[in-house]
């Protein structure tokens, strides 16, 4: 136990440290590159240690899951077996389904399946206790990824790359409250801006859509493209509440098309503008 002590000099020190913290925060929000580089450097430095730790912990984690989550694992296996059987049964009709899908997508001008992507594996939640609506994946700068790229599954938009380190990245999910994406309603062709709905698990289109536009429940919402780094026509979700009676502040609720439940892999859509640029220009 330390001896009780006076606190004469602590107040100026504390004020100085708070001022320093606020200055750093301001610089970071203004995009001061050296701070980003410092943080990225620290994470890259720790990356090999983290990888070793994850590898070492894998058998223990498996044993833990086997002992405490056995029922869940068994249910999951049963569900996958049923899914496999159903898929085998559908194999013959899959070609016809594919043709139908392509025809439907062609009708609304969607060429989402032709985008260049990189497959990434989900590692889990990023370090820390406050990383809600974010996930960590196993590829980064070395694999040609960069911040802002769209992350998708076969079903549609999942989110975008928020932090990209040398060999890992953090994905901000579409439901994150700070997530913004330009969207287009396939029926009316109206364009607006959607934001993540946070804990609700939905997206909210709260800008750009005229109050008098007829929006049907179940209408498909896709990315609008344009100046956004997201390519156009990636499925975002379906309208669950068109907020038809709203006067000015219309909020259309959209259920995301892609579900992350039980997923292990995602696709990162490579930015065609970066692909056109040389490696030096990618920075």
């Amino acid at each position: 136990m330390a001896v009780p002590r006076p606190t004469g000099r602590s107040r100026p020190t504390l004020l100085l440290l708070i001022a320093a913290a606020l200055t750093l925060l301001t610089l970071q929000f203004r995009g001061f590159a050296p701070l980003d580089s410092f943080q990225q450097g620290m994470r890259d430095l720790l990356d090999p240690v983290r990888s070793v730790s994850e590898t070492a912990a894998r058998p223990l984690r498996s044993a833990w899951l086997g002992v405490f989550d056995y029922d869940d694992l068994r249910d999951r296996t049963e569900r996958l077996e049923k899914e496999l059987a159903r898929m085998r049964g559908r194999q013959l009709s899959s070609e016809a389904d594919r043709e139908l899908l392509l025809r439907l997508m062609g009708e609304v001008g969607i060429d989402y399946t032709t985008l260049d992507t990189v497959v990434v594996r989900i590692l889990g939640t990023p370090p820390g206790n406050f990383s809600s609506h974010t996930i960590e994946v196993d590829k980064g700068l070395d694999d040609g990824l960069s911040e802002g790229m769209a992350v998708v599954t076969g079903a549609g938009l999942v989110g975008r790359l928020e932090v990209v380190d040398r060999s890992r990245s953090i994905v901000r999910l579409a439901t994150h409250p700070a997530f913004r994406v330009g969207v287009r309603l396939v029926g009316s062709q109206d364009e607006g801006l959607a934001r993540g709905g946070g804990a609700t698990g939905y997206l909210v289109i709260d800008a750009g859509i005229r109050p008098d536009v007829e929006v049907a429940v179940g209408e498909v919402v896709v990315t609008s493209g344009g100046r956004s780094r997201f390519p156009a026509d990636i499925p975002v979700g379906r309208v669950v509440d068109p907020d038809q009676g709203a006067d000015l502040d219309r909020e259309i609720i959209v259920e995301p098309a892609a579900s992350l439940e039980h997923l292990s892999f995602l696709n990162v859509v490579l930015d065609p503008r970066l692909a056109d640029a040389g490696p030096l220009e990618r920075g």
Binding site: T7, S10, A21, L25, M42, L46, R50, S53, R61, P127
Partner: protein
Amino acid sequence: MTGRLKIVAVLLTAMTVQVTVFEEIRIDGVSVELLLLVSILAGFHGGPERGAVVAFCAGLLHDSITATPMGLHALVYAPLAVATSHLEVRLARSTRPFLAVGLAVAMAVGVCATMLAGGLFGLHDVDVARLARTALVASLMSVAVAVPTSRAVCWAVTGGLPVDVDVRGSGVESRG
């Protein structure tokens, strides 16, 4: 090893342990907040001034590994270390269970303050139920590892000696 090197060693070790061992040990998705624990203990053992500086550095390291804006954790950890230091004067003759409860409360306050600060800067939405659960689990888990951490922090910030003995009552701190 000089005092500063000891502090750097403890902080880097804590950061490494946080992103490796404690990332694997999660209860209900919540892990130990080791760098917050180090900050509180630095205030407890090292006094307000040294505690604040150590906590500030711990906060910056935490910001680096969690990819949060630089300064966010530091903004919370430094005042918390100073507050803990002031309380330590009043808890000098307290029993160990009482100190454990005090530490758990300080941890919970730190977790809540960090989450609220993050919400203030728009990093995430503040869900009260989730916040309460996270604060409770993180503080209990952190208290469970407090004894070895406390020894390490005490070694780093005091060198095993009492510090900050004011012989003249002038408010000037002397170091052991």
